[in-house]
């Protein structure tokens, strides 16, 4: 058997190649986020000051909803032709698969964020009063919080009949602490206020949920 790291790399490379060819997840996420940006911008037409107050919530809610599209897509590929069974009968560890899926989703959502952030800035006339590097930290930690739980719960709802509905039902309540911290941190930084407490909260959330998901994933993968 390959080292777990090697299997994670192989699975990640496979997922990236498949997404590069189909662009299913990224296109759906982009389209959805674009709609949110444009519709909200025209609905409220906020001033620069108002934008700083609402942008944190708006950005993260848009990314959360968009991420759900990618999260469902990742596992949908694995149940087509029951390919997941081929992984399950192999000696490869479950944690390698989970790590690859989380990293893949992290890349997809990060690409989305990189493409959408300039649009948010333009449409909402955003100008941060706090340091940009802190926003980058919040973006990385917040995205990880979304995808680590999302990947886990998407796997959990894999065998349910209406998994597209199940995923948000499971994911959104558990993401509330992280979402709250992400929104508060983003708003605080945009307004030039301290966000240290919220950043530590997201980091702690990431640490706890990454550990729990890694520990429980094998049970989820082999559940009947």
């Amino acid at each position: 058997m390959s080292a777990p790291g090697g299997i994670t790399r192989a699975t990640l490379a496979k997922d990236l190649r498949m997404e590069w060819r189909s662009k299913d997840a990224v296109n759906s996420m982009l389209f959805f986020s674009l709609l949110v940006v444009v519709v909200f911008s025209f609905s409220f037409d906020p001033s620069s000051e108002e934008s700083r107050q609402i942008a944190g919530g708006l950005i993260w809610v848009a990314f959360l909803f968009a991420a759900v599209v990618a999260l469902n897509q990742t596992w949908a590929r694995e149940i087509r032709n029951q390919v997941l069974d081929a992984y399950r009968v192999s000696p490869a560890p479950a944690t390698s698969l989970f790590a690859a899926k989380v990293l893949g989703n992290f890349i997809f959502v990060s690409v989305l964020e990189a493409l959408m952030t300039p649009l948010f800035i333009v449409f909402y006339r955003l100008r941060s009063l706090g340091p940009i590097w802190q926003l980058l930290i919040v973006a990385v930690l917040g995205t990880w919080a979304l995808v680590v739980n999302g990947t886990f719960f998407a796997a959990m709802s894999l065998r349910t009949r209406s998994r597209e509905i199940m995923l948000p039902l499971l994911l959104f309540p558990i993401s509330i602490p992280a979402m709250l911290a992400m929104v508060q941190a983003t708003t605080a930084i945009l307004n030039g206020e301290g966000a240290r407490f919220w950043i530590v909260l997201i980091a702690t959330y990431d640490l706890v949920f990454t550990s729990v998901c890694l520990l429980l994933f094998e049970t989820i993968l082999n559940a009947e």
């Binding site: 090697g6 299997i7 496979k14 009968v89 490869a92």
Partner: protein, 233 residues
């Protein structure tokens, strides 16, 4: 005098598998010797696929015991078992070689020639660039078999390897399976086309309502041999 009977590679004792209130396997007890080909036969819902999936470690027994190559924890021996399911277990978006290279890495197979060998063994070309989704059903079946052969398994569990395959391809697959058996591998072939394995399988295992009801050495309809003769003509 020494006993020359081949040792059992799989033993199943009072195996019960329930899905909710439905019992798919109802107390299966059997021993299967190594280096033989077993054809698992029975009507739809007889428990053939469930038995195969349980031997592959995909279904956990509700009760009873399964030992594969002496191990109770089937993950310990998963590198020595090959499994081919009714669906292809392949990614439609990638071509055959890309699929096999990925699965080879799961088994720690670094030798890229192994993928080429497996594809050639099932009568396909390693140079096929089309994604698997565009293969014919017969090609998918062959590529699926190539995936199952990739890790050079000691035990091969094959679920319906001849379904949706034309007669010539089916006989090609039978010949390949016979070769693998002659190399000392143990094969379990779930099929509804038992006549194809006539004269090839060492034992026909009959299942009914979740139980093994009979084990015979012959499946004597003559239909398989007749089909083969017609094909050769």
């Amino acid at each position: 005098m020494t006993d020359t009977a081949p040792a059992a590679v799989i033993t199943v004792h009072n195996l019960i598998k329930q899905f909710g209130r439905f019992a798919a396997l109802r107390g299966v007890t059997a021993e299967f010797a190594g280096g033989k080909m077993f054809a698992i036969l029975g009507d739809n819902g007889a428990g053939k696929t469930t038995l195969l999936r349980t031997l592959a470690g995909l279904n956990r027994p509700t009760s009873g015991e399964v030992r594969v190559l002496g191990a109770r924890d089937l993950r310990e021996v998963s590198a020595r078992v090959g499994y081919m399911a009714h669906p292809s277990l392949l990614y439609d978006e990638m071509n055959g070689m890309e699929n096999l290279r990925y699965f080879a890495q799961l088994y720690g197979i670094a030798d890229r020639d192994r993928c080429t060998e497996a594809i050639r063994a099932v009568g396909l070309s390693p140079a096929l660039v089309r994604p698997v989704g565009q293969y014919s059903q017969g090609m998918k079946q062959r590529m699926s078999l190539a995936r199952a052969l990739l890790n050079d398994p000691q035990i091969l569990l094959l679920d319906e390897p001849f379904s949706n395959v034309d007669l010539k391809s089916a006989h090609d697959i039978v010949r390949l399976l016979a070769e693998l058996r002659d190399q000392g591998k143990t094969l379990f072939v779930v099929t509804h086309q038992a006549s194809l394995l006539e004269g090839v399988a060492d034992e026909f295992v009959w299942m009914e309502q979740g139980k093994i009801t009979d084990r015979t050495r012959m499946f004597a309809t003559g239909a398989g041999q007749q089909e083969l003769r017609e094909l050769q003509r």
